[in-house]
Every structure is written in structure tokens, then in C-alpha cells.
């Protein structure tokens, strides 16, 4: 269970998160919606420990651990995964090498045995097939020369391999056509279960037709201004953020 209480954070001395309260019980998928610049990515970076995002107050615990006190890689090993809004390119680093290094780093941190190249390849092929991805994505440099859609699918592949217990997806749907969107949604839905929870950050209601959330939260100006069931997403789509905020 992810529990965020009174979380405030700033970038370069500018306050962005102004007191976030949010509970995501284990097994649930919650959506966070909000206009551009409302602090959605900031929240995901604060939770995953990016440098430069300074926590000034409040707390965030995951299964009882104070995650804000952990290094980013420790949070990853503890099961936190962030699908980046803008996946990063690593020139010359093969995607397969990257994925295997990451998986083994996490396994090692958890005291599990590391996978050799053959075991890894078998697993990766399996997961890629499920995501209708072609093998050649493994051979290419990490995100180098990938189209927008390929980058997002690569994020989902990483999630499928790393099997996190908490996934934060930061606008994974933006820029995707409907087929790619379905693949991404299938990837997330396949992970759903009693041990998995997710924070799905999105701008549009469209994704939530495919990943039906347990709860929807509206983030504006660094605060959660409204929460509700899946129907809240429809409401936002029909009336816009301004109306929802005015009503809140």
C-alpha cells in the first residue's frame, strides 16, 4: 500500500507540490489526471527519488517503508517502477544489456540469483511476444532512434520484465495511436492482481477506457482537488478541468 501524507516538494526553491494526500491500497489501480503543469511528473519524480526534487514536508510510505529516505535504486529494488513520460536514450547500450543489467541488479539487491544471458533472453522473448513487440527492439540501443510509440512500449516491456509491485505510468498514453494504446493497456492489465498497484498519470480519459481505474484523482496546482470513481474521468472529459475545480 502506498500512503502519501501532506507531501510538499520544490524545484529550485519553487514550491510545486503543495500538500498531497493519497492512499493507493495494494491491488488497486488509481488514475491521476490534471492539466499540464499541475505537478503530475513532479509527483512521480519525487516518489522515485530524482535529484533536484526536494521534499520539504510530509511523508510517503510504501508497504510501511519510508521510501523518501531511500536511494532511487533501493526504491526500484523495493518494487517501485516509473514509466517515464520522456524515456531517456542511452547511446551504445544495447536494450537487452540494459534490461538484463537492471533485472539482475534488482534481483541481486533482493538476494535472488542473477539470470544468465540465455535465461534472460528466454524470459524477454516471452514477455515481448505478449506485448506484440519484435525481437529487434532488444538489439537496438536503449531508446535510440525509437519512435514515440516504441519508446512507450519499451517502458511497458521493462515493467513486464521487472515485475514491480507499484508502477507509476507518467502519460504513457500520450502520442500513441489506438493500437499502441491497447498494447500498453494490455501490458498494465496483465500485471493487475492482488500484489500489484499502479498510479496511472494521464491527460486524457481515453486510456481509462482500457485501463479501468479503481479511483480517479484530479491534481491541480500541486494539490489533489477531487477524487472519485471511474465516472469522474468521464465527467472531466465532458466538462473540463476548470468546471471540476470550480465545483470542488
Amino acid at each position: 500500500m502506498l500512503r502519501i501524507e501532506g507531501l510538499t516538494a520544490e524545484i529550485d526553491g519553487k514550491q510545486i507540490l503543495k500538500g498531497i494526500d493519497l492512499d493507493v491500497p495494494t491491488g488497486e489501480v488509481h488514475a491521476i489526471m490534471g492539466p499540464n503543469g499541475s505537478g503530475k511528473s513532479t509527483l512521480s519524480y519525487v516518489l522515485s527519488g530524482r535529484e533536484g526534487y526536494e521534499v520539504t514536508g510530509g511523508s510517503a510510505t510504501f508497504n510501511g517503508h519510508d521510501i523518501l529516505a531511500m536511494e532511487p535504486e533501493e526504491r526500484a529494488a523495493a518494487g517501485l517502477f516509473l514509466a517515464f513520460q520522456y524515456p531517456v536514450e542511452l547511446p551504445g547500450v544495447g536494450n537487452a544489456t540494459f534490461l538484463r543489467t537492471a533485472l539482475n541488479a534488482q534481483r541481486k539487491a533482493r538476494g535472488e540469483s542473477e539470470l544468465d544471458a540465455m535465461q534472460f533472453l528466454k524470459l524477454a522473448r516471452e514477455r515481448m511476444k505478449a506485448l506484440s513487440m519484435s525481437d529487434d527492439m532488444l538489439k537496438r540501443g536503449v531508446n535510440v532512434g525509437f519512435s514515440g510509440g516504441e519508446k512507450k512500449r519499451n517502458e511497458i516491456l521493462q515493467m513486464a520484465l521487472l515485475k514491480p509491485s507499484l508502477a507509476i505510468l507518467d502519460e504513457t498514453d500520450s502520442g500513441l495511436d489506438i493500437d499502441a494504446l491497447k498494447i500498453v493497456a494490455d501490458g498494465v492489465n496483465a500485471m493487475r492482481g492482488p500484489d500489484f498497484s499502479a498510479l496511472v498519470i494521464t491527460h486524457y480519459q481515453r486510456l481509462l477506457d482500457y485501463i479501468v481505474p479503481d479511483r480517479v484523482h484530479v491534481l491541480m496546482h500541486g494539490r489533489i482537488v477531487k477524487s472519485g470513481g471511474p465516472e469522474l474521468a468521464q465527467e472531466l472529459e465532458a466538462q473540463g478541468y476548470a468546471a471540476v475545480q470550480a465545483a470542488a
Binding site: E73, A76, V88, E89, L90, G92, V93, Q106
Partner: protein, 498 residues
């Protein structure tokens, strides 16, 4: 017209490199007295029971050296070296081959263990009788000629190579067993008076490797030498000569680590390669000598002359180097492309961390028609490290249709290090084509964070990104070496980000 392009960046960071292999072996040495004069040259030659012609050859080198001055044009700084304050000869006392590892000096074994050398290879290195006749299971056979404190203590796989007519032994042994070959080629690529350090080496070299691959023979295994510097303040002057006769092929690996010490140590090796018609020599180096501590104290001075002559038509010489060690590296593995359609390649990774300085690159001399060369240089600077790529591409008037492609990439880690690119191009042939590309980049914060979010530590992330940056060079290394090199890159950059 020389095209000089210099990019200089200076920036700052705190860096600390943990040198994993710092230790010193205490083996009784048989020293020549300190200092350098004609008598020392004669002492070395006599110790090695050399023929008169070689003594004469050394003395001519010494005479030339006395008239020369230490080069000062490289972008490296170090206090003056007192050449009279060094020993020029040291050798372990072990004479007869041990029957098993139990009989080998335990100090030597400890050294090997710290280096992570597998037992089987330890036996070969230590010269255990009968070792090395069967290659270890599942591994590419590697023949090792170990240079331990100037004298080769072990040579392996000799029998198997002998069947092919291949000669692979220490150069001192070759002087005794194949004097005609040594005499024919020694100093023909790097003459005695070529430069200050080469002249010094020619006068006092104590050992090194000799390789001869006969016509049409493809060497069935990688040939390898472990170089070690061991005796306190003993300058190391290795001499290596590799001759690949018509249509032959050989891949040679040179790798080394050194014990921790406070004093700076001079190392001035010479490597000469000769490739005849249709012959190929692939020469790979992983250099990991002691780089000095985080404050820049100690470390090896590595002043090396490496040159290959593509004498024959369609011959090829390929240098691949991964330079992570030494306080100062001064090294320009070069190719003289004489034979028509001959090919020269230089693939280099050079890391400077803390106070390390590297001035390294290559020279490609295009003499014959349609000669081609490729230069790929990856320089990585961290801490206060200074990294200079210095390269010369010279195309002579007769090198019609010659081609060169040069790519120099620099990666900066932190704010106090520097990367410099100094490519000289001299083209005297209108039909020749020369291309040069250069980039300078940094490891970006978002790249590090992306890796760490996936579970990699900061150091693993730097290692992965740096290995990616060096990929084009690392893929040129033989498989086993590549794995070792990748680990080394990460180790030598430990603590550089933070």
C-alpha cells in the same frame, strides 16, 4: 596543410579511484647497480648472453640516446626524471621449472591470486612442467608468455604452436634460438634513434615477446602476454617484435596490472609489427598499471612506442587499446601503410580519472596506393583527468585513392577534467579522401536517473553508459578481453560521479 582543431574544456568534480590491485611482491632480485652508462648496457647484454651484433646494436642506441632530449610536446606534466637513479636490470632468481604449484614461490602465487588469474593459467605463468598442453575446458585457448620483472618466467603452448611452425617466445630466447629472424627485423620499424624513449629502450631492453607466423599460417589461438612491473624503482623496457609472413594471421593480446607504490615508475616499451603480403596482425592492449592515488601521488609513467609496418600488399594491422591505468600515458600506436591496398586501424579507449594524464592517439602514414585507415578514439575524462587525442594522418603523393576516416569522441564526467582533440592532417595526394568527426559530451543527469530508477547503482549506471560510449572500440577486442575491459572501465571510474 595541417588542420589543427583543439577543443578544451575544464570543469570540476571530486573523484576517488580505488585501485583494486595494489600490492607488491617480495622476491629476491638480482640487481645491476643503479644508473645508466655503457657498462650497464654491456652488463645487460652479457647477462643475457647476447651475440656481439646485438651488443653493438644496443651501444649504438645508447650513443644516440645520449644526444637526445626528452620530448616535451605532449600535453602532459611531470617532474624531471633522473635516469641515473634507476635500476636497469632485475630478474627473479627462480631458474629450474617447478614440478607443481607447491614448488612455486608463494609470493608469486599470491600475486596471481589477487589478479584473479585462474589456477590453470597460474601454472602456465609459473612455468610448471607439463602445464598448458591441454587447453582449459570451454575456453578459447590462450597462449601466455609471462613477463615477470623483466625476465620471462614462463612460456606455454610452445609445442602446439611449434607444430604450425609458429615461434612464440621471449625475445631473449629468440635471440638465442632464431638470431637470424631477430636480426633481420629488430629495429626496422622503430629504429634505435627513433625517439628518446625508443632509444632508451633499445639500449637497455631486458625482455619482451617475439612472434613469427610463417607463410600462410593462421595462428590457432590468441597469443597473450601478461606484463607486470614488480621491482621497486626498476624501469621497465619491454621489447616486442611480431612478424607475420605472407598470408598469415595472428591476434596478440597484451594486458597488465601493477603493484601499488609511491614512487613514479618509468615504463618505456617498444612494440614493432611487420605484416607481409596479405598478412593480418591484430594487436589488443588492456593497460591497467597503477594510476597513482586520488591526490595524484605515484603511478606509472607509460611512454611507449608502438608501430606497425604494413609492408606487403593487402596487409592489415589493427591496434585496439583500452588504457585505464598509468599516471601518464604517452602512446601513439601507428601504421606505416606501405603495401598497396594495405589497411591500418586504431581503436582506442582512454580513461583519465583523478590526476591521470593521457596524450594518446595514432599516426597513419599512407604511402602505397589505395591504402585505407580507420581511427576511432574514445576519450573519457573524470576527476582532474586530462585526456588528449593527438593523431596524424599523412598521405603521401603516391597514395592515390587513399582513404582515412577518423572519429574522436570525448566524454566528460564532472567539472574539473579536460578533453582535447588535436588531429593533424597532411594530405599531398589530390585523389585521397580524409574525413574527420569529433564530438564532446557529458553523462547527463537524466541518463543516470533513468538507470538508477531501473535498479542500477550510480557506479553501475556510469559503467553502463561509459561502456555504451566505448562500444565501437570494445567490440574490436577478443571476447574474453572485452569482458575484462568492461569491468575495468567501471572500476577505474568508481567514485567519479557523486
Amino acid at each position: 596543410m595541417p588542420a589543427v582543431n583543439e577543443t578544451i574544456e575544464t570543469v570540476q568534480s571530486v573523484a576517488e579511484s580505488g585501485y583494486k590491485w595494489g600490492f607488491e611482491t617480495d622476491i629476491e632480485m638480482e640487481f645491476a647497480p643503479k644508473g645508466l652508462n655503457e657498462d650497464i648496457v654491456r652488463f645487460i647484454s652479457a647477462k643475457k648472453n647476447e651475440p656481439e651484433w646485438l651488443l653493438e646494436w644496443r651501444l649504438r642506441a645508447f650513443a644516440a640516446w645520449k644526444t637526445m632530449e626528452e620530448p616535451r610536446w605532449a600535453a602532459v606534466k611531470y617532474p624531471p626524471i633522473d635516469y641515473q637513479d634507476s635500476y636497469y636490470y632485475a630478474a627473479p632468481k627462480e631458474k629450474v621449472g617447478p614440478k607443481s604449484l607447491d614448488e612455486v614461490d608463494p609470493e608469486l602465487l599470491k600475486t596471481y591470486a589477487k589478479l584473479g588469474i585462474p589456477l590453470r593459467e597460474q601454472e602456465i605463468l609459473a612455468g610448471v612442467e607439463g602445464a598448458g598442453s591441454v587447453p582449459a575446458e570451454g575456453r578459447m585457448p590462450v597462449a601466455v608468455d609471462a613477463v615477470f620483472d623483466s625476465v620471462s618466467v614462463a612460456t606455454s603452448y610452445k609445442e602446439r604452436l611449434g607444430k604450425e611452425g609458429i615461434i612464440f617466445c621471449s625475445i631473449s630466447e629468440a635471440v638465442q634460438t632464431h638470431p637470424e629472424l631477430v636480426r633481420k627485423y629488430l629495429g626496422t620499424v622503430v629504429p634505435q634513434g627513433d625517439n628518446f624513449f625508443a632509444a632508451l629502450n633499445s639500449a637497455v631492453f631486458t625482455d619482451g615477446s617475439f612472434v613469427y607466423i610463417p607463410k600462410g599460417v593462421r595462428c590457432p589461438m590468441e597469443l597473450s602476454t601478461y606484463f607486470r612491473i614488480n621491482a621497486k624503482s626498476t624501469g621497465q623496457f619491454e621489447r616486442t617484435l611480431i612478424v607475420a609472413d605472407e598470408g598469415s594471421y595472428v591476434s596478440y593480446l597484451e594486458g597488465c596490472t601493477a603493484p601499488m607504490r609511491d614512487e613514479n615508475q618509468l615504463h618505456a616499451a617498444v612494440v614493432e609489427l611487420v605484416a607481409m603480403d596479405d598478412a593480418t596482425i591484430k594487436y589488443s592492449t588492456v593497460q591497467n598499471w597503477y594510476p597513482g592515488d586520488a591526490e595524484g601521488k605515484g603511478g606509472i609513467y607509460n611512454f611507449v612506442t608502438k608501430r606497425g609496418a604494413c609492408r606487403g600488399a593487402r596487409s592489415k594491422i589493427s591496434w585496439t587499446q583500452v588504457e585505464t591505468g598509468s599516471a601518464i600515458t604517452w602512446k601513439y600506436p601507428s601504421c606505416i601503410l606501405q603495401g598497396e591496398d594495405s589497411v591500418g586501424e586504431f581503436y582506442s579507449v582512454a580513461i583519465t580519472n583523478n590526476y591521470q594524464q593521457a596524450d594518446t592517439g595514432t599516426k597513419m602514414f599512407h604511402i602505397g596506393p589505395r591504402t585505407r585507415s580507420t581511427i576511432v578514439s574514445k576519450g573519457i575524462s573524470a576527476g582532474h583527468g586530462q585526456n588528449t587525442y593527438r593523431g596524424l594522418v599523412r598521405i603521401g603523393a603516391k597514395a592515390t585513392g587513399a582513404r582515412n576516416f577518423t572519429q574522436c569522441d570525448s566524454l566528460l564526467i564532472g567539472d574539473l577534467c579536460g578533453a582535447h582533440t588535436v588531429p593533424y592532417i597532411e594530405n599531398r595526394c589530390v585523389t585521397a579522401k580524409v574525413e574527420h568527426e569529433a564530438t564532446t559530451s557529458r553523462i547527463a543527469e537524466d541518463q543516470l536517473f533513468y538507470c538508477r530508477q531501473r535498479g542500477l547503482t550510480q557506479e553501475e549506471a556510469v559503467g553502463l553508459i561509459v561502456n555504451g560510449f566505448c562500444r565501437e572500440v570494445l567490440k574490436e577486442l577478443p571476447m574474453e578481453f572485452a569482458v575484462e575491459a568492461q569491468k575495468l572501465l567501471q572500476i577505474s571510474l568508481e567514485g567519479s560521479v557523486g
